[in-house]
Subunit: 170 residues, 2 copies
Amino acid sequence: MEKDIALLKEITLFKDLPVEKIQKILNIMRKVVYSENETIMREGDSGDTMYIILEGTVEVVKSLVIGDLEDEDVGKNKVFTRLDGKNHHAVFGEIALLEELKRTATIKAITNCVLYEIRRDDFIKLTEDDHELGYHILLSLARIVSARLRKADEETVKLTTALSIILQQT
Amino acid sequence: MEKDIALLKEITLFKDLPVEKIQKILNIMRKVVYSENETIMREGDSGDTMYIILEGTVEVVKSLVIGDLEDEDVGKNKVFTRLDGKNHHAVFGEIALLEELKRTATIKAITNCVLYEIRRDDFIKLTEDDHELGYHILLSLARIVSARLRKADEETVKLTTALSIILQQT
């Protein structure tokens, strides 16, 4: 139990919380196991769970081009990144805690994995009961999402710049 | 005062709040006036204020290409959108409530404007004092930012698709 509390305190989403609040989060978490090559979530599916990696490595794959292009090379996915349980215990799917949304990436276990799972219903119930806890987690979560938005905006500028340069040359 | 409360209840960020909570938000808001053509915020500057448009129209301008390209046409900005005080009273700069970040767009008054301004320090103080209020606003804010992230991701896919098609043809 103490080990679990120490683990959760390493995670950005929970890092500022006191032990008694972390304890409450532990109560709504469930340990789940995935085998090597098993798909944990699929891009486009609706999702209501967030995951914390305890052990193992997952691969995050995101479609970078619209699916139904004629040429196979254009239509293929691109691997974005890998996440694992080392260092700060990567978290994924956390936007599902906010609302029912389609998953924006496919995530596959590339080794055997042990994960903690939190369901939105349990999360909302917990935070509605304890607004102080809800406030602190949502502040972290909003900051995480805003950092991703900044990064996505930067990507857009890079891509538009590349397009401009190419269109000028043709 | 009642008019102000009705106005705030139209805004997504505050729509689920009871009157006594809206009252608290009104207490930290300040009315500010900008003249036609005046710049309200500049892309790249750091910001700590959110705005609600009471009257008037603003123009949101965002750089779409990296600034220092040689060709003037490539380096120029592109107008994204206009916001005004009609319908649901547009809000901008709300990510500044979360943390010290650079503004991601330049916003200019294109008519005389009356705005409500909320400063991050006042917002954080208010929500630290009233976690229930903080919880509800942050849930809305996190959802707004997550909707923008989804839109930005879709833009990236469109741009990458366009790039792939062009690169295949050249």
